[in-house]
Amino acid sequence: MGLTLTWLSVIILIPLAALFLKTFELSFDQFWGIVTSRRTLNALKISFGLSFAAALVNLVMGTIIVWALVRYRFPGRRLFDAIVDIPFALPTAVAGVALTQLFAQKGWLGAPLAELGIKVAFTPVGIFIAMVFIGIPFVVRTVQPVLIDLDPEIEEAAASLGANRWHTVFRVILPGLVPALLTGFALAFARAVGEYGSVIFIAGNLPNVSEIAPLLIVIRLSEFRYADATAIAVIMLLASFLIIFAVNRLQRWAQNRTPVH
């Protein structure tokens, strides 16, 4: 017990405390100056904005994927079910170089897209693509168990009371999935905001255009501007605390609205 706490403190508490202590070495004006500088603001905007967009795509596509996996039988279903976990399992650097190669101008997908006039690699679109990749499993894996366990009687009741399938799905089934969908969305969003490895290769990393906040932290560190790095890190850390908090509230909400069987 005591050992557990000591270990936890050494590995997690003390390092995180160091981050906040370092921030307190800054005056508020210094902190504010760093955080509101043009480059920092743009990096934060890019990270949070694109993560939000990518999480939205994951929400929609995740719902479609989970529906296909749970409700339909088709050849290769089990294989595709297993494939969903690959973005979790594949090391981020590997995903990064693979996606870059795929979407580069001479890549398998990059070449046809370039002919259409769409440039993906080394633009914000590339960042967005990498974030979509990394977020796929979150929505699928949070919604899947809920959809599997959904009581079939409810939709049968809706159908036998005369609702058409469209109504049943959108008025009866999807509302039941809302907490899980939102949780999946929040987790995908949080992951994308902090993501580094799979994004930096395809991003292009142009300051103010395609530079994500985690990369700016790394750049500031390599310039020995520790204060700058720390200030950006604190902002991002606070954001992820907020997301954890939101997810926990969502879970509680989901539990409370569940009828007891």
Binding site: L8, L19, M61, V94, V146, S240, N248
Partner: protein, 320 residues
């Protein structure tokens, strides 16, 4: 696990794994189990969509997964072997590659061992005892999952760097933490901290303390109880946690990148070498290393699937 394994169960499970982003894969018990098992007495047509709609949904799902997940994986192997098998293996036999592989194995061995020991202890403390601040402890364990890997690395730079809190003292004593193996191991331990504990907590909570109490009342010592009663009960869950912990430890990039210093042949792990070689346009070498990591990921997924099945079976006695 209740038999209805209804919404309540999955919600609890989710909550258990809540911010544990990477571990949402780790709800072995509820996944896929109900799909076929549920008796469908009622007319099937009430619960499905018209043929064309079904076709479009399956098409969308399969296309999306193929483009975003399968293709990147295929690209890794295609690039690695683009100059033939000989070039592939000679890329892997480079001294730089060998030293990166060795360092990755070493760091993974250190961090998995330590997280295994402390993960079991943390899970034991949380699931078998009641104490104040338990929720806080769980949040703390989950934290590394929700922190950007770059920040995980940064905190150790702030502690051990030249300008860091312990930096001057370390320098005075000529101890190298940053840009050396200890720093890389610490950052890896930080990011992989939750896996073992998170895999065990739900399992141990479910099993309760009755068996342990019985063992102790029959005269077993604490250690005997642990090795004879608790450990056999949790072995599959433990393996599951170790498996995921190891995969992440070997593949970690962001946190390690910040603390490693990228000293060639010394502090480059495999993911870092992938980056360096890629940026030097040595694509075959870069993707050859990447292909090893990709194989690790694929093997991990296969073993994970097998373990999930074991875990499901293991839960049968508790199901009724």
């Amino acid at each position: 696990m209740s038999t209805e394994s209804g919404f309540v169960t999955s919600a609890t499970e989710l909550r258990a794994y809540a911010p544990a982003a990477d571990l949402s894969i780790a709800s072995p018990s509820s996944r896929d189990s109900g799909a076929q098992a549920r008796p469908r007495t009622s007319p099937q047509h009430l619960r499905t969509e018209p043929g064309p709609v079904r076709f479009v949904i399956i098409g969308l799902a399969v296309t999306f997964l193929t483009v975003f997940v399968v293709l990147p994986l295929v690209v890794v192997f295609a690039q690695a072997f683009s100059k033939g098998v000989g070039a592939y293996f000679s890329a892997l036999a480079e001294p730089e590659a060998l030293s990166a592989i060795w360092l990755t194995l070493l760091v993974a061995a250190i961090s998995v061992t330590l997280n295994l020991v402390f993960g079991v202890m943390a899970a034991w403390a949380i699931s078998k005892f009641d104490f104040r601040g338990k929720t806080f402890l769980i949040t703390l364990i989950d934290l590394p999952f929700s922190v950007s890997p770059v920040i995980s690395g940064l905190v150790f730079v702030l502690l051990f760097g030249a300008q860091g809190f312990l930096g001057p003292w370390l320098q005075a004593h000529d101890i190298h933490v940053l840009f050396a193996v200890p720093g890389i191991a610490l950052a890896t331990i930080f990011v992989t901290f939750p896996f073992v504990a998170r895999a065990l907590i739900p399992l141990m909570q479910e099993q309760g303390t009755q068996e342990e109490e019985a063992a102790i009342s029959l005269g077993a010592s604490g250690l005997q109880t642990f090795f004879r009663v608790t450990l056999p009960n949790i072995k599959w869950g433990l393996l599951y946690g170790v498996l995921l912990c190891n995969a992440r430890a070997m593949g970690e990039f962001g946190a390690v990148s910040v603390v490693s210093g990228h000293i060639r042949g010394e502090t480059n792990t495999m993911p870092l070498l992938v980056e360096i070689l890629y940026n030097e346009y040595q694509f075959v070498s870069s993707f050859a290393i990447a292909s090893l990591l990709a194989m690790l990921a694929l093997i991990t997924l296969v073993v994970k699937t097998v373990l999930e099945r074991r875990l499901d079976e293991g839960q049968v006695p508790y199901d009724h």
